[in-house]
């Protein structure tokens, strides 16, 4: 290291302070409620190559502490001069913004004619035009339908706003003043960043600052490598599934081979399904350290080493193999708007692979479905149609090595905030009938998975539209480990318990009739350890708190509760009948799917895919799944019979 250890720590504190001041500026000045409510923005302090050195700790989303701006920075034509501010929202140039609503912005910081650093950040614009309001839908098939895309461009040239670019933006979006308002907030943030970085240059000296930023990356890398070195060498295979690869579609399999060798790791996504026909693709450009596929890694590292510094150095210890034409490296013009749904599964995929490497140190699967429920309806009192965010429906964390999973939310969804019912009912044409934790949904285990959240509501508005984007895990449950059982699947039900009850499965948009009751239950977290070894007192406490019913206590835990107490003799007798459980449990649907779609079937599909251009693969997959469904023969045989797909 070029910087002495104490100066480095002092610099680290100052860089974090600079990043936090940028984030506060952004949060305070942002216009759209969406940005304020969901904190769907991030801030980065970047070195002169565009690598992230520091991020804020408690403001904004968790996805980009290791993001790399370098490719996007280089794509701006005409070099840089002081006062430039650049932006991009194109998921296919530089792979910095990964769907069109995300605008990334960066500003070079000059010192005596030389770029010493960049200030950067991103914000999710509510709408950027395109085929549907808010620009996001699983029904879209090409990125061209997903609204305006700005390739890396200068919004300000030497301090002067490019009015043409701005007019182009505002002409293409549905609520232009909101976009411009949010862009201005981002501009204010990078300007704050420039000022703070220049202060750092004065405080530490330019050379110390430049060296220090490089050393911060080395320090982040060393910390990540130390964690890797503490894990056993080996290759750990894992797969996880999204319920559907499109509306009413087939399972979407994500596949990972995690190779840990010494203090390095390779994440090989070979075997992951081809890019989807809908907008669930995750654009990475095959970048070997792409932040979006490494979000799960940040969580794992923070769990294994709570005080770890996360920055671009962290991701240098990890190399990703992202096959072209797969869902994790789609080819233009595949649609990408709903990549958040797939990203949730990418995180649980990474958690699962690491849980194989260090089962004693890591939790079972978190609920893994983060959906924000919105209601658009006319408010009878005000006569105004309003879109209200009702609640994020996320579900609990997985059972941990040392305690139960956090109930209701947690793990990779811990940053979301809910809305008070008293405000929601005053603003929207809605009556909330129930909001709370759903009993018996935490995956049974020695350490139970966190419970699901349930939301039940009705509306008397005749024109109501309910949206529930990013719902998943209604088929493939959050898995349990070490003998723990999976968390309960999510559900979406119209008129539960009534004669006209209807299972809405993974529907994203619903028009309930006045008086209809809508119930959404998130998934629960997976359990960890054999539930028959859970202390009966812990089961009793759950029972007293209404987290587990009498029936489930007996069925899932072998604990007999009578008259408000554990019947010890009956419990021992019941538990004695249960075989010991160990290992992984992804639930019956996953088991059934993998019985039909076994390794040979997926291998055969992989071979078939290799024969066709990437743009055809989604259709081929759909075709093969239909054929396999229609046949009783082994799936691999069925697939091999279809090798003439597309050849007339």
């Amino acid at each position: 290291m070029r910087t002495d250890p104490v100066t480095l720590q002092v610099l680290r504190n100052h860089c974090r302070a600079a990043a936090e001041s940028m984030a506060t500026t952004l949060y305070r000045t942002a216009h759209s409620t969406f940005v304020k409510e969901t904190e769907d923005f991030t801030i980065q302090l970047l070195d002169r190559h565009g690598k992230t050195c520091a991020v804020p700790l408690d403001l904004g989303a968790t996805w980009y502490p290791g993001v790399d701006y370098e490719d996007a920075i280089k794509l701006v034509p005409g070099g840089y001069e002081p006062g430039d501010i650049c932006m991009t929202s194109d998921p296919y140039s530089g792979f910095l913004s990964t769907h069109s609503p995300d605008t990334n912005m960066w500003k070079p910081v000059f010192h005596e004619g030389e770029i010493i650093a960049f200030a950067g950040g991103h914000i999710h614009n509510v709408d950027v035009g395109g085929a549907v309001p808010a620009s996001l839908s699983r029904t879209l098939t090409e990125v061209h339908q997903e609204g305006l895309r700005i390739p890396p461009s200068k919004l300000y040239r030497a301090g002067v706003l490019d009015e043409t670019l701005l007019r182009t933006i505002t002409a293409n979006v549905r609520v232009p003043e909101q976009n411009w308002g949010d862009l201005k907030a981002l501009v204010a943030a990078v300007n704050t960043g420039e000022r703070r970085i220049l202060e750092l240059a004065r405080r530490f000296g330019v050379e110390t600052l430049k060296d220090g930023l490089a050393d911060l990356l080395d320090y982040g890398e060393a910390q990540a490598r130390a964690v890797l070195a503490s894990l056993p060498d080996g290759t750990y295979h894992f797969a996880d599934y999204c319920d559907e690869d499109g509306v009413g579609g087939d399972p979407l399999r994500l596949k990972l081979a995690l190779r840990i060798q010494g203090d390095s790791a390779e994440l090989d996504f070979t075997g992951t399904d081809p890019q989807t026909l809908c907008s669930m693709n995750v654009p990475t450009g095959g970048h070997p350290h792409h932040s979006l596929v490494l979000v799960g890694v940040y969580y794992v590292l923070s769990a294994l080493s709570p005080k770890i510094t996360l920055n671009f150095g962290t991701v240098r210890a990890f190399t990703c193999i992202l096959p072209e034409g797969s869902v994790v490296n789609p080819a233009h013009p595949a649609a990408v708007g709903m990549r958040s749904l797939t990203c949730a599964r990418l995180r649980s995929l990474v958690f699962g692979a690491f849980a194989q490497a260090a089962p004693e140190r890591l939790p079972a699967a978190p609920a893994g479905s983060s959906s924000i429920i919105n209601l658009a309806a006319e408010n009878r009192r005000t006569g105004r149609r309003v879109i209200s965010a009702i609640a994020p429906i996320v579900g609990g964390g997985g059972g941990m090595p040392h305690r139960d999973g956090t109930d209701g939310s947690g793990a990779d969804a811990a940053y979301l905030k809910n809305s008070p019912i008293e405000i929601t009912e005053a603003e929207a044409a809605i009556r909330i009938l129930r909001y709370g934790l759903m009993p018996d949904t935490g995956g049974p285990g020695a350490h139970r998975g966190g419970l699901a959240t349930v939301l039940e509501f009705t509306t008397d508005a005749p024109d109501a539209t309910v949206t529930a984007r990013n719902r998943d895990r209604s088929i493939f449950q959050p898995w349990g480990i070490l003998g723990g059982r999976p968390g309960a699947a999510s559900s979406f039900t119209l008129n539960p318990g009534a004669a006209n009850e209807h299972d809405l499965r993974n529907t994203d948009i619903l028009n309930p009739a006045p008086g209809d009751v809508v119930r959404i239950v998130s998934p629960g977290g997976g359990g960890r350890g054999d539930p028959m070894t859970r202390k009966p007192e812990a089961v009793l406490r759950d029972w007293q708190a209404g987290r587990v019913t009498t029936e489930a206590a007996a069925r899932d835990y072998g604990v007999v509760i009578a008259d408000g107490a554990v019947d010890t003799a009956a419990t021992e007798a019941l538990r004695a009948q249960q075989p010991a459980r160990e290992g992984f449990d992804g639930g019956p649907n996953r088991a059934a799917h993998e019985a039909r779609w076994d390794a040979s079937a997926y291998a055969a599909m992989g071979e078939a895919m290799a024969e066709v251009p990437s743009a055809w693969r989604g259709r081929l997959k759909r075709h093969l799944f239909a054929k396999v469904r229609a046949s009783q023969d082994p799936a691999a045989d069925v697939i091999r019979r279809e090798k003439n797909f597309g050849r007339g």
Binding site: R202, R203, N418, I421
Partner: protein
């Protein structure tokens, strides 16, 4: 009433401030706190006041006290075991809170355990809508069942918190009446009676804290009042409030929620007063104790107010002086991680065992030990001779990090200080960003045992104009309580989109609050002077989720355009933009009533009759180099004295460290005004 007394009971010391109404003179006194025998410190203090200053209990006409008993009860969670009755199907209100949790990058992140565990939460069959209309009448059988369950679960009291009770408390009232019939021995609390804000989690949480601390606070106040009566103090006891005012002990017993931050708020009020007297309009107060540093922003003598202050694991949503705790104090521990990198905090040695150099069993190096090894403290007895500084122990402790770092002892000490200050800088900088203030226009007013020791270093990092150290930094809290005005907040939730039709509602709400406020001040508090009324509204654009406070004119409450304009203007000041076309909602009207109490005339410091003479030069390690610093004794300094750093100013309750480049000036009240060197551009 001739004499006014303020008392602040801290972990180690109890401070007294006595104001003589006749001439405005202020007398201060410090005695040991007696955690082993609470109340004895008051007896001892009054004895010494009589012996040394001839102050007799019978002459005391006004007695204020700031206490941490409420906050300690919440932190230790050893108050009343409450059961919670909620609207059925919403029993998880405390469990889920607002979902978002701290340390959210970690897979193991969790919310703190709720103050009332889920097994003592009972859903009641009842429902009121957002307009206050009854949808489901309250069902007596379900209340009876819940009371039965609560008693069976071992609950010692019951909190009722129903949805929309702020708008229509009838169901809460009905439930209370039923419980009183069914279980007359149980204390009952109602959310809308404790603090009737909108937002069910925040209202329930605030009420839960209030109920939880109530019996302990009441017992404490009973004992305190008994002690005063025995001593012959015949005036009523007044308690300082979180909002920076005072109230009678009867109100404090009933409305515990108002006095949780009593201790910290008093310090800020004291700091504001000293700053105002010294002619400093913009102040950041810095109170560093053993485990944390409390920072507040004071502009023109007025602290910033907020709601949502953090108490233990929770936030409490009543109007409070806005104080932010940052995680480092004199007891924060230094260590070296597995990469050979030095870290300071968040672990702390607290007041027990405390820093190694206190010789009370601490062995790990703390910030205070590093300061001792650097030669910056220990030149006079610490804490009025209560602590003698053991330099060898400090050296041994700092040695445990110097060794692994492979650097000399003094250098390790210097680096611990530098790193600790940069940590404080990071937290303070975030606070500065949040308040949106230009810190270069602010002075840092340091108090608490470790404040003056570290203030210059922090002010330099923050690029602040100056540091101020009052003559008796330890007594600010006691004095703050003493000079705090009688002050109470009244709110009405209006929740309306601004339009001419709303005007009558606003006028009616204001009239109601005004009557209540004046009754409180003149009848309940027996204040004969003139009332000050300040009106504000919490407003937002429709669709926003956070309100901002907008000051309003009392006599223009029906002028809707003016109110709307005031909101746009305030929004522009805070966020840089305003949307003149958007609909504006007024959620809450707030009226603050205050009755001014007499203020002391701070004793002028005698003028200097020659240059300041240092006691001696002492060897120190400062800013990475061995040097000599001039050691001054605080009591020898006079108004007009000026001297440069490096310097150390020793006094019985604290030590002020001044690095090279800084200039110290003693002002007319004896405050040290320390100019921070300009940063090289």
């Amino acid at each position: 009433m001739a004499l006014r007394v303020g008392v602040d009971v801290g972990g180690s010391f109890t401070d007294f401030a006595v104001l003589d109404d006749a001439d405005g003179s202020l007398t201060t006194l410090k005695v040991f706190s007696r955690p082993d025998a609470p109340g004895q410190e008051i007896v001892e203090g009054m004895r010494q006041l009589a012996a040394r200053h001839g102050i007799q209990a019978a002459d005391v006409g006004y007695f204020t006290h700031g206490t941490t008993v409420g906050i300690n009860t919440v932190i230790q969670r050893n108050g009343l075991k409450l059961a919670l009755f909620t609207t059925r199907n919403f029993e998880d209100v405390l469990e889920l809170a607002r979902l978002k949790m701290a340390a959210y990058h970690n897979l193991f992140s969790r919310r703190p355990d709720p103050l009332i565990p889920r097994e003592r939460v009972f859903g009641i069959e009842e429902r009121v809508d957002a307009e206050g209309a009854v949808l489901t009448p309250i069902e007596e059988a379900s209340v009876a069942g819940a009371v039965h369950g609560a008693i069976a679960s071992g609950a010692q009291g019951i909190l009722i918190a129903f949805l929309h009770a702020w708008r229509n408390p009838a169901h809460e009232q009905a439930a209370e009446a039923m419980i009183r019939r069914l279980a007359p021995e149980l204390p009952v609390f109602r959310s809308a009676a404790i603090w009737p804000i909108i937002r069910e989690y925040e209202r329930t949480m605030t009420a839960a804290i209030s109920g939880h601390v109530q019996p302990r606070v009441a017992l404490y106040l009973d004992a305190f009042e008994d002690r005063l009566r025995e001593l012959g103090v015949n005036c009523g006891l007044r308690i300082t409030k979180s909002n920076g005012g005072v109230m009678g002990a009867a109100q404090a017993r009933a409305e515990c929620v108002q006095m949780l931050l009593s201790g910290t708020a008093s310090g800020v009020i004291g700091a504001a007063f000293v700053a105002q007297a010294a002619g400093l309009p913009r102040i950041m107060s810095l109170d560093i104790g053993g485990t944390s540093a409390d920072v507040a922003v004071i502009i023109d003598g007025q602290p910033e107010y907020g709601s949502g202050e953090v108490i233990g694991d929770f936030q409490i949503h009543i109007p409070s002086v806005s104080v932010t705790s940052i995680g480092q104090g004199g007891g924060s521990i230094a260590s070296v991680d597995e990469f050979g990198v030095l870290k300071v905090g968040p672990e702390s040695a607290g007041s027990l065992p405390g820093p190694a150099c206190y010789g009370r069993g601490g062995e790990r190096p703390t910030i205070t030990d590093a300061v001792a090894v650097s030669g910056l403290i220990g030149h006079a007895g610490l804490g009025y001779g209560a602590v003698t500084l053991d330099l060898d122990r400090a050296k041994a402790a700092v040695g445990t990090v110097a060794g692994p770092l492979g650097i000399p002892l003094e250098q390790a000490a210097g680096e611990i200080i530098e790193l600790a200050v940069s940590g404080m800088y990071t937290d303070t900088s975030a606070l500065v960003s949040r308040f949106g203030i230009d810190v270069r226009e602010f002075s840092l007013l340091a108090f608490g045992g470790a404040g003056p020791m570290l203030a210059c270093f922090l002010a330099r990092e923050l690029n602040m104009a100056s540091v101020v150290v009052p003559p008796a930094p330890g007594v600010l809290s006691a004095m703050g309580g003493l000079i705090a005005d009688l002050r109470n907040d009244f709110i009405r939730i209006v929740y309306a989109t601004l339009a001419p039709a709303v005007a009558p509602r606003l006028a009616e709400a204001l009239e109601g609050m005004k009557a209540q406020a004046l009754h409180w001040l003149h009848e309940e508090q027996g204040f004969a002077g003139e009332a000050t009324l300040n009106l504000s509204a919490e407003m937002r654009y429709r669709g926003q989720s956070h309100e901002i406070a907008v000051p309003l004119e009392l006599d223009a409450i029906t002028d809707i355009p003016a109110i709307t304009r005031a909101f746009h203007d305030r929004h522009r000041v805070m966020f840089g933009h305003a949307d003149e076309k958007a609909a504006v909602q007024l959620i809450t009207l707030r009226l603050v009533v205050a009755g001014a109490t007499p203020k002391p005339r701070l004793r002028p410091c005698p003028p200097a009759e020659g240059p300041a003479e240092p006691d001696r030069l002492v060897p120190v390690y400062l800013d990475g180099a061995h040097t000599r610093a001039a050691l001054y004794r605080r009591e020898a300094l006079r108004a007009g004295h000026t001297f440069p750093g490096p310097a150390i100013i020793a006094q019985p309750d604290c030590t002020t460290c001044v690095p090279a480049g800084f200039t110290v000036r003693v002002d007319g009240f004896g405050n040290l005004i320390i100019a921070v060197p300009e940063k090289a551009a």
